[in-house]
């Protein structure tokens, strides 16, 4: 088990390196850099641009270095927790992003919890009572959840939240807590606002999870040992919980890996619509204005979160499922 753990941990390293290179290439790819658009903006406003000043800026930001040096500088900074320098805000990225990264983690975790809590009972019900009215109802609901773009759902829900529950539109907390230090009241305010984004972000994932878990459980329920158990007079509840449910629980854990990117993708667009203080809106701005270190660090952070999620799910799976633990690391 320990060997497997270390092995998985080591595999993460090259993956992360390759990802960081890919991200660096992507954020470098647009023609020109931030300084060029900055200069043209200044010129369009009729201001004179001092070439010495530009040269100075270029040197301080390291834009005159060859590409691989720029990459090494950036990646080295990442390792030390230094996310680089945001051109647009003229601040270190760490200060610009502030709470956003941690709030993104909070919202993502809450969404995963939501997906689990909601999809588990529904999936079990749908599988046990296959083709009942309830099953059809939830299946239908699941399809709608898959097909509705989340930003639209966010808009509609925002409207209803304001109209019927009187929660301030947008944001993750009441305005007065926005810049306040962390306190119990702020925490409560966040909790009361959290449910809308969590609902919106978690819905497509929930729909997918219900489908997978239901299919898995149905496969398991049709197996012979279940019939044998029933024939021998095992109580239905015990029969369900003891074996088929346990066996079909794997996707619950295994899906953290694929669920997390899905949730983060969802959170980007939802946070733009609802103007949440998450990474989404800032990423969008940074991409538009070629603020490359800000954008790159956000992308890297999201990718890291996902890789970490896959790692955790693999470890948990190995812990939970002896078939995987003893099967020498073959996860799927």
């Amino acid at each position: 088990m320990f060997r497997y753990f270390v092995q998985r941990l080591l595999v993460m390293v090259p993956t992360l390196i390759v990802i960081s290179i890919a991200i660096f290439v992507i954020i470098q790819a647009p023609p020109g850099d931030f300084l060029e658009s900055y200069i043209s903006e200044l010129q369009s406003q009729g201001e004179a641009v001092d070439p010495a000043k530009i040269e100075f800026l270029r040197r301080t930001y390291g834009l005159d270095l060859p590409l691989y040096m720029q990459y090494l500088k950036w990646a080295g900074g990442l390792l030390q927790g230094n996310l680089g320098y945001s051109f647009e805000h003229s601040l270190p990225v760490n200060e610009v992003v502030g709470d956003r990264l941690s709030l993104t983690v909070v919202v993502s975790l809450a969404s995963i919890l939501f997906v689990w809590v909601v999809s588990f009972p529904i999936a079990v019900y749908s599988a046990v009572r296959q083709y009942s009215i309830g099953d059809y109802f939830f299946t239908f609901l699941g399809y709608i959840g898959l097909a509705t773009p989340s930003f639209l759902f966010a808009l509609i829900l925002l409207y209803f939240a304001k109209e019927y529950f009187d929660i301030s539109i947008g944001g993750l907390m009441e305005p007065q807590y926005m810049d306040a230090p962390w306190s119990w009241a702020k925490f409560q305010s966040i909790l009361s606002h959290l449910w809308i984004p969590v609902l919106v972000i978690g819905l497509p994932g929930t729909a997918g999870m219900i489908r997978r878990l239901r299919a898995n459980l149905l496969d398991e329920l049709n197996k012979q040992y279940v019939v044998t158990g029933r024939a021998k007079g095992l109580p239905p509840g015990r029969l369900l919980v003891k074996y088929p449910l346990r066996v079909s629980l794997n996707p619950f854990i295994a899906d953290i890996g694929s669920l997390l990117p899905e949730l983060i993708s969802g959170s980007v667009i939802v946070s733009v619509v609802m103007s949440l203080p998450l990474t989404g809106p800032m990423l969008l701005d940074a991409l538009r204005s070629q603020d490359m270190y800000l954008a790159g660090s956000f992308l890297m952070f999201m990718a890291f979160l996902t890789v970490l999620g896959v790692f955790i799910s693999d470890i948990l799976l190995a812990l939970l499922d002896p078939r995987i633990r003893l099967g020498a690391g073959a996860t799927k």
């Binding site: 992507i26 097909a147 639209l152 990117p261 667009i269 990423l283 538009r288 992308l299 996902t306 896959v310």
Partner: protein, 393 residues
């Protein structure tokens, strides 16, 4: 059998009997023509038969077929051109179509609109004038257009009535007809899914095929690449890639750029499916036989292996299309996808971005209805195809 029971007494010798009729080995199991049809059907025929039993999937397939057919004649179907502006009629709510005027049947018509500016909140209000019915015209001359940008014409299926506008789905902030814009947007949104999937199928088959057929280090590399791509969340990656497309490109080039971006990220699922099928198939006897007879890897992959997983591939591709359509919608909604003047459903929804629209002009969110219908239809059809392609169900 009959002979034995009819002859009485156990001691009497059995009479020897030979039937003069010629022996028919199939006399016990006579196959009916229906059974024969199934037994002798090709794999594709079987799939079609199975697919037909899946009623929702068939309905979805028909809906999609109709929509793609409509894509061919968007200019003809829509009452206006997508850019026709009706300056007098901004933010008109959807007009209902009536059949009876004062209890008298006069065919489909809309009432003329009375315009009033509410001076207290500067909101435009349009009310129907029940005295002035305007008959809708069919097969008529209207806005000029270039069919697919090439063939000029002005024939429309439906035209606005003479003497007034017709906005069956309302009009937007520039007074453009939403119905026409939704129809024009359909062309972009529906084709972008197909083109994106085409890109990802090519990539998926090529890379998944290589990985699955050769195994070893080729497989390792492809697997790592897939892993890396999958571990970056899709939407932010799409956004970052879409931000690379130069602003100076024409909207048409942006369109192609977006399809390629969508396909570049999405091929991983298909590649995995291809790889796992190939890995199991290449161990089969027929594959070894082909190898022994000196067939080249290309011939083996395309001639011997491909037919056996093509059906699966089609099903997976069908299920990938809705993701692309939703992806394009999201990108355009955020302003990094298709750009006006090209219209897609995402571009239309970009206008419905803020809460004011939801409250004041809810009909601007109507493009969401076709998005949901198309995505659902593709999902149902894909599910049906997948079930049909699976021989064990």
């Amino acid at each position: 059998m009959n002979e034995r029971t009819s002859s009485d007494g156990a001691s009497a010798p059995l009479p020897h009997y030979v039937s003069p009729a010629p022996f028919d080995p199939y006399s016990v199991e006579r196959t009916t023509p229906e059974q024969e049809k199934i037994y002798l059907a090709s794999q594709w025929k079987l799939m079609a038969l199975k697919f037909k039993r899946h009623r929702v999937a068939v309905v979805s397939a028909i809906v999609l077929a109709l929509m793609y057919l409509a894509v061919l004649g968007v200019e003809f179907l829509s009452p206006y051109h997508q850019d026709t502006r009706n300056v007098q009629h901004i933010y008109v709510p959807p007009q209902p179509v009536h059949l009876f005027h004062k209890g008298e049947f006069i065919g489909p018509f809309v009432y003329a609109l009375d315009y009033k500016l509410d001076m207290s909140n500067l909101k435009r209000t349009f009310t129907e004038n029940p005295e002035k019915p305007l008959k809708i015209r069919f097969f008529c001359r209207g806005d000029r257009y270039n069919w697919w940008g090439v063939v000029p014409g002005d024939l429309h299926l439906v035209c606005p009535p003479e003497g007034g506008p017709m906005f069956l789905l309302g009009s937007d902030r520039l007074g453009r007809d939403m119905l026409s814009r939704v129809l024009y947007g359909m062309r972009i949104s529906l084709t972008i899914g197909i083109m994106g999937v085409a890109v990802s199928i090519v990539l998926g088959i090529a890379l998944g095929g290589l990985a699955g057929y050769y195994g070893g280090w080729v497989d390792d590399i492809v697997q790592r690449v897939i892993e890396v791509i999958r571990s970056i969340p899709h939407l932010p990656l799409w956004l970052a890639l879409a931000a690379i497309l130069p602003v100076t490109w024409s909207p048409l080039w942006i369109y192609f750029g977006i399809t390629i971006i969508l396909g570049l990220i999405d091929w991983t699922g298909l590649a995995r499916a291809v790889r796992s099928r190939l890995l199991s198939l290449r161990e089969e006897d027929f594959c070894v036989a082909a190898q022994l007879m000196g067939a080249s890897p290309r011939r083996i992959i395309f001639r011997h292996l491909m037919p056996s997983f093509m059906s699966h591939l089609i099903a997976s591709a069908t299920l990938a299309i809705p993701n692309m359509i939703l992806g394009e919608t999201a990108l355009s909604f955020l302003g990094l996808g298709i750009r006006p003047p090209i219209t897609s459903w995402g571009v239309l929804l970009n206008e419905a971005q803020n809460i004011n629209v939801v409250v004041l002009y809810p009909w601007l969110m109507l493009p969401i209805v076709p998005v949901i219908i198309v995505v659902l239809a593709f999902n149902f059809m894909g599910d049906g195809l997948r079930d049909a392609a699976d021989p064990y169900r």
